[in-house]
């Protein structure tokens, strides 16, 4: 698939809460189709401590406005800089990168996300809707003050919510949510993105219940397009590049 490096224009920077924001970026040329689960590599200008690009999942693509958006959690220098971007600023992106969540043509899909890992669920919801599938969402946050975009997910499907402290939705981790209580599970496929611990727990649960499960890994990357071999994860077919063969993997293939 053709890849590009372009200066995007910041057309929106919307804080969700103290640690998360959504950047809306307009492409200088017509966007190619972006698949759910694909990511971009962002060049953080003007910072001596951010030498390498930073990878972010595409949160949403709006072809009518020719924009993509990123949902970003502030971690260090790079994401802090991104958080200060203003409308009119530019940001250089390499895109579109990586594979994507698989797209069942029918069946019931559960999209599970936690923290900034919810990012790709939105574009996935949109994508599934366009295939006439309404997925369920199960999103987990630390507490009520980090819960956001519930109405937007709701446009694409039913939304379940967990918070670690129980301040909103179910209390506890997503895997403790009643959605997972039934056996067999009413899903043909689970797609999950979130902290490592969450993905492991969900993968284990899915395996136990015999449901196909995909996760989107966030390994450290230098290039993002398959040439440095820094981002590898062990699979049943050996070391695979998370940036090319992934970031989405069938959990049954992973040795993690």
């Amino acid at each position: 698939m053709k890849k590009f490096a372009h200066d995007f224009k910041v057309v929106g920077n919307n804080p969700l809460n103290a640690r998360h924001f959504v950047l809306e970026l307009q492409a200088p040329v017509p966007l190619p189709e972006i698949l759910p689960g694909q990511f971009v590599q962002v060049l953080v200008h003007n910072s001596p401590s951010t030498f390498l690009r930073r990878p972010f999942s595409v949160h949403f693509a709006d072809y009518s406005k020719n924009t993509l958006s990123l949902l970003v959690q502030i971690k260090g220098e790079g994401t802090r800089h991104m958080g200060m971007l203003k409308t009119g600023d530019t940001l250089n992106l390499v895109y579109p990168l990586g594979n994507s969540f698989s797209a069942p043509s029918s069946g019931k899909v559960l999209l599970v996300g936690g923290g900034a890992g919810v990012a790709p669920l939105m574009i996935m919801g949109d994508y599934l809707n366009r295939k006439n599938i309404r997925p369920d969402f199960l999103v987990g946050f630390r507490s009520a003050d980090e819960v956001s975009q519930m109405d937007q997910y709701a446009r694409y499907g039913k939304v379940y919510l967990s918070t670690d402290d129980g301040s909103m939705g179910e209390k506890g981790f997503v895997t403790q949510h009643p959605v997972f209580a039934t056996s067999p599970l009413p899903y043909d496929r689970i797609c999950c993105c979130g902290p490592d611990a969450m993905m492991h727990a969900v993968a284990k649960l899915a395996a136990a219940k015999g449901v196909a499960c995909e996760v989107s890994l966030e390994n450290f990357m230098a290039c993002g397009y398959g040439v440095c071999l820094c981002c590898i994860t062990q699979t049943d077919t050996g070391n695979e590049r998370v940036c090319i063969e992934g970031p989405v993997f069938e959990t049954s293939r992973l040795k993690w």
Partner: protein, 294 residues
Amino acid sequence: MQFKNPVTTASGCFGYGEEFKDFYDLGLLGGIFVKAVTGSNRPGNKYPRMAETASGMLNSVGLQNKGVDNFCKVIYPKIKDFNTQIIVNVSGSTIEEYVMVAERINELENIPAIELNISCPNVKEGGMAFGVVPSTATEVTRAVRGVYKKVLMVKLSPNVTSICEMAKAVVDGGADVLTLINTLLGMAVDAETRRPVISTITGGLSGPAIKPVALRMVWQVFKAVDVPIVGLGGIMNTTDAIEFMLAGASVIQVGTANFIDPMVAPKIAEGINEYLDRHNIASARDIVGALKVC
């Protein structure tokens, strides 16, 4: 052998070139130095394999590749007709392995040269060990020279007391061209977890951070030995490339910079032409080693 322009891409930073076809026409490049090839399949080192550092990065890939047989049968057919020079980076743990790989690559018609990697800091055996002791460096070069009939380049390690001594040692062994430099051995620590950042503790430092060391070594070797030099280490833009050529590099490689800007190599090729025009210099050859030192 001829390069259509002095800009090539460094081994380990450009895969086998195929990934970059998604970005631009590979014919814009002078050449491509492909990822290290060893005697047999190597899974490489454990994850994590990289750390970001000030104006640079550490890597510890550990020569992951599927071995020379796979290279000849699976990869070579896919890349042999790229409209640019393809040079294979040959690595190993023993002299026999280097020789075996070189012998196999020698048979590949569209590969005009190999780059002997005696400078990889990220493998337990062989690798850099060959590149830091002059007598061993001569020995491995001579052994490969015995079987390899085309252009033999040797890539030197900067982790030595005297780069000129190493350069002379491999030229004695029969090297036609010298590539310098490979990565500096470095380390990164996570103060919060109190652990090393990469699985092998130490790794190879690349990027602009090492450019001053690389330039110095190119210049020292340019004055000390009489073979062409392929220069690299932290080249990010045209100005950097010109600096290496002034210091004595006939050809330059772009390594880590490919990760920051995938389009950078053809931009540099273009930029060198603009520089030559602006300074009224007829050919890139005229600036090689042309540093004015008095």
